[in-house]
């Protein structure tokens, strides 16, 4: 097994075990599981970044130019942003969900592995080195927002439904709804400027490669669509009555649109951005 493949295997293994440990921790609150899960998350994430660096070193080709590489960065950045949040705001209880998603996206990325290919001419640009990581990082921030929105919605709907039960007591131990909402807001506040920079650098690159900074290519348009959804999120969040339940639904819809923009457009709709070309 080549070193980069071994590192991917390490990352996948660490995420899977870490996800298991943290998911059981989420339900059982047995703290040693958390203490096992945290290092596994960190090991997986570090292995992924080392893998990308090793791959670049071995092949000399920027490793993010196909779905394999970009999904790999997506899952690594999701875990990295999550780890940052978890350390800062003590949110390890959500790690199982983030690691599960990271493992799924990484495993899916591996199915697109085709070996090493030189990039097609339009991807041979220094913009590839700037634009792709920024866009993928914004998706990762939205993934973290999505996970906390789901936890918010779970708590919102499930807690009042079963008052006095162990489930209610268990949900009560999660951060309060306003706290969860604030975490989502903070994650979106990372994702929205990043996707804005991503769209802008994409436009600058497009200007260089295709002649126009905006071509209404399905990919850029889908990114604009997601941008609009998160813009709606931010604006609704300025309204007291909308902050919370509704904005968290918008965050969920936003992430669905991100996945459509990221994978749906590449796989189903061919255009200038399609990796199939």
């Amino acid at each position: 097994m080549a070193p980069d493949e071994a590192l991917i295997a390490v990352a996948l293994g660490a995420y899977t075990l870490g996800a298991l440990a943290l998911l059981v921790y989420f339900f059982s609150r047995v703290t040693w599981l958390r203490d096992v899960g945290i290092p596994l998350a960190i090991i997986g994430c570090v292995a992924q970044f080392v893998q990308l660096a090793v791959r670049f070193e071995l092949t000399g080709v920027w490793p993010l130019l196909n779905l394999y590489g970009s999904l790999s960065l997506f899952s690594a950045m999701s875990v990295a942003i999550y780890i940052g949040f978890a350390f800062r705001y003590r949110l390890w209880f959500a790690g199982g969900f983030v690691l599960t998603l990271a493992a799924i996206f990484l495993a899916y990325g591996v199915t697109w592995y085709e070996g090493t290919m030189p990039p097609v001419p339009s991807l041979q640009s220094y913009w590839a080195k700037i634009h792709v990581p920024i866009v993928v990082s914004s998706y990762a921030a939205f993934l973290v927002a999505f996970v906390f929105s789901c936890i918010y919605l779970l708590k919102y709907y499930a807690a009042p439904a079963r008052p006095g039960t162990p489930i209610a007591a268990w949900l009560a131990a999660l951060p309060t709804l306003p706290q969860l909402d604030m975490i989502v807001y903070r994650a979106v506040a990372i994702g929205l400027p990043l996707i804005s920079i991503g769209i802008i650098t994409g436009a600058m690159w497009a200007k260089e490669a295709w002649g126009a900074y905006w071509q209404w290519d399905p990919k850029e348009t889908a990114a604009l669509f997601s941008w609009i959804i998160y813009l709606a999120y931010m604006h609704l969040h300025t309204r007291h009555a909308w902050r919370g339940l509704r904005t968290n639904w918008v965050s969920v819809i936003g992430f669905v649109s991100i996945i459509f923009c990221y994978l749906g457009v590449n796989i189903w709709i061919s255009g200038l951005h399609s990796y199939k070309v």
Binding site: Y113, E114, G115, M117, P118, V120, P121, S122, Q124, S125, W127, P178, Q179, D181, M182, A189, L192, P193, S196, I197, I200, A203, K207, E208, A209, W210, G211, A212, Y213, W214, W216, P218, T221, A222, L224, F225, I228, I229, L231, A232, H235, L236, T238, R239, H240, W242, R243, V265, I269
Partner: protein
């Protein structure tokens, strides 16, 4: 102004100044862009008829969904957004983000604290102000109805972040409008060795050479032919009349008098030898055809379409392969009679095909052509500035939390004062709760040593 007009204006301001209305516009804008992602744009009407059920296809065409970004819907929604943005700015954003200094009912504000200190009011106030000033807060004093108030502000300037973000959006909108009003774009396909003139700028471009490089790569799912490079060597003559040699590649456009030219595509022009009863037809034979062009045979209703070039034909099966490098080339010719298709044939180069009535067509040799896109966009600097301003606005709005603390000090006896503090931020109270209590604890703590 009559009452009716006043009412209508009030309704307009109420509607357009409502963030929920703006968000509804975002939703419509989002739906329009999504339609544009899902429905292929700029196709021929027949393509929609083929791809969709007839009523859907008719709806797509009638509603301009085939060119949605330039449809009245899109332009209208952007117009409404800008209008709403303008009204919101004056009716909501400025009053909400830049509130005047005024007294408040301290107890009514969710984040508040009161405590007593053993100190005359004037000294307590000076001390309070020092406390905030030393932590970087900007402190101002005002008197309202005989009561003295102090206001401590943090990141006061950042209250304008939203305005900056909104201004960025407006500048981008202005930049794109400028392209619509003054810019132009187009496409050119130039055969190797030929010169083309750009209609709008009169610039001359001669294609001296075109080359492409393709790497065959064995992958798990089979052989992939990966394009690695496209290069056009051109001689351009711009406004100054001086011919200049330049190279155009993907990601490396050239600039001729402010118009940018990009490597967009390439293809194979074809020279045919066309013969009638063994005699060469000079008019048809002396020109180069590009893919998609037809030769009309004089004196008949027959035409031969040069459909496409097949760079490599498999010797054994006689079928075109996926290899885009030229090895054993052939052309696909489609013959039709009065518009009705008669048949299609794959014709290797330098072989002939009989098309009836004594006509014979020989694909003789190919000539590479290079496809360029050009674009002159005077709005680019504005869009660039707008993007920068927008980003700055986003960062200011999201990462700085302007907060204001209202402070009043009341005399509560000869050597006693009562301090009331209340805090507001531009993002509600929850975000500031922890920090406010910490501030109040250290504020109260700073008095402790002097307490009796």
């Amino acid at each position: 102004m009559t009452a009716a007009i006043r009412d209508a204006y009030a309704d307009f301001v109420r509607t357009f100044g409502n963030v929920l209305f703006a968000v509804s516009l975002f939703v419509v804008w989002g739906i329009l862009t999504l339609i544009g992602v899902v429905v292929d744009q700029g196709q021929d009407p027949s393509a929609y008829m083929q791809a969709y059920a007839a009523p859907v296809a008719r709806a797509i065409l009638r509603l301009d969904f085939d060119n949605i970004y330039h449809s009245p819907w899109s332009v209208g929604i952007i117009g409404l957004l800008l209008l709403s943005l303008a009204v919101c700015t004056f009716k909501r954003v400025i009053p909400a983000r830049l509130p005047p200094l005024r007294p408040v009912n301290v107890e009514k504000i969710p984040l508040h604290a009161t405590f007593d200190v053993a100190m005359p009011a004037a000294d307590a106030r000076r001390r309070l102000e020092q406390f905030f000033a030393s932590r970087g807060w900007r402190v101002r004093e005002r008197v309202f109805g005989g009561t003295e108030w102090s206001f401590a502000d943090r990141h006061d300037w950042a209250r304008r972040g939203v305005l900056v973000a909104h201004a960025g959006f407006v500048i981008i909108a202005a930049g794109t409008t400028l392209y619509w009003a003054r810019g132009f774009s187009g496409e050119l396909a130039i055969l190797r060795g030929e010169t083309a003139q750009v209609a709008q700028t009169r610039a001359l471009i001669r294609l001296d050479d075109f080359a492409y490089r393709i790497a065959p790569i064995m992958t798990k799912s089979g052989m992939v032919y990966q394009p690695v490079d496209y290069v056009s060597r051109v001689t351009v003559t711009g406004n100054d009349g001086m011919p200049k040699a330049m190279t155009v590649r993907v990601n490396h456009p050239i600039n001729i008098d402010g118009t940018l030219y990009y490597q967009a595509s390439y293809g194979f022009g074809m020279r045919f030898v066309v013969m009638r009863n063994g005699k060469r037809d000079a008019a048809l034979s002396n020109r180069t055809y590009v893919e998609g062009e037809s030769l009309d045979l004089p004196g008949t209703q027959r035409s031969v379409l040069y459909d496409r070039f097949a760079p490599t034909v498999d010797k054994q099966s006689g079928m075109p392969t996926a290899d885009p490098r030229v090895n054993d080339p052939a052309v696909v010719l489609a013959v039709s009679q009065a518009g009705a298709a008669l048949g299609e044939a794959l014709v290797p180069l330098r072989t002939w095909i009989d098309v009836g009535d004594g006509w014979r067509v020989v694909p003789e040799r190919y000539v590479l052509y290079s496809g360029f896109q050009y674009r002159n966009d005077p709005g680019v600097p504005l869009v660039g500035i707008g993007a920068f301003v927008l980003l700055a606005g986003l960062v200011i709005s999201f990462y700085l939390l302007p907060a204001r603390i209202y402070l009043r000090v009341d005399e509560d006896g000869p050597n006693r004062s009562r301090i009331g503090a209340a805090a507001t931020t531009v993002k509600g109270y929850d975000v500031f709760q922890g920090e406010f209590s910490r501030l109040m604890v250290s504020l109260e703590g700073s008095w402790r040593p002097t307490k009796p």
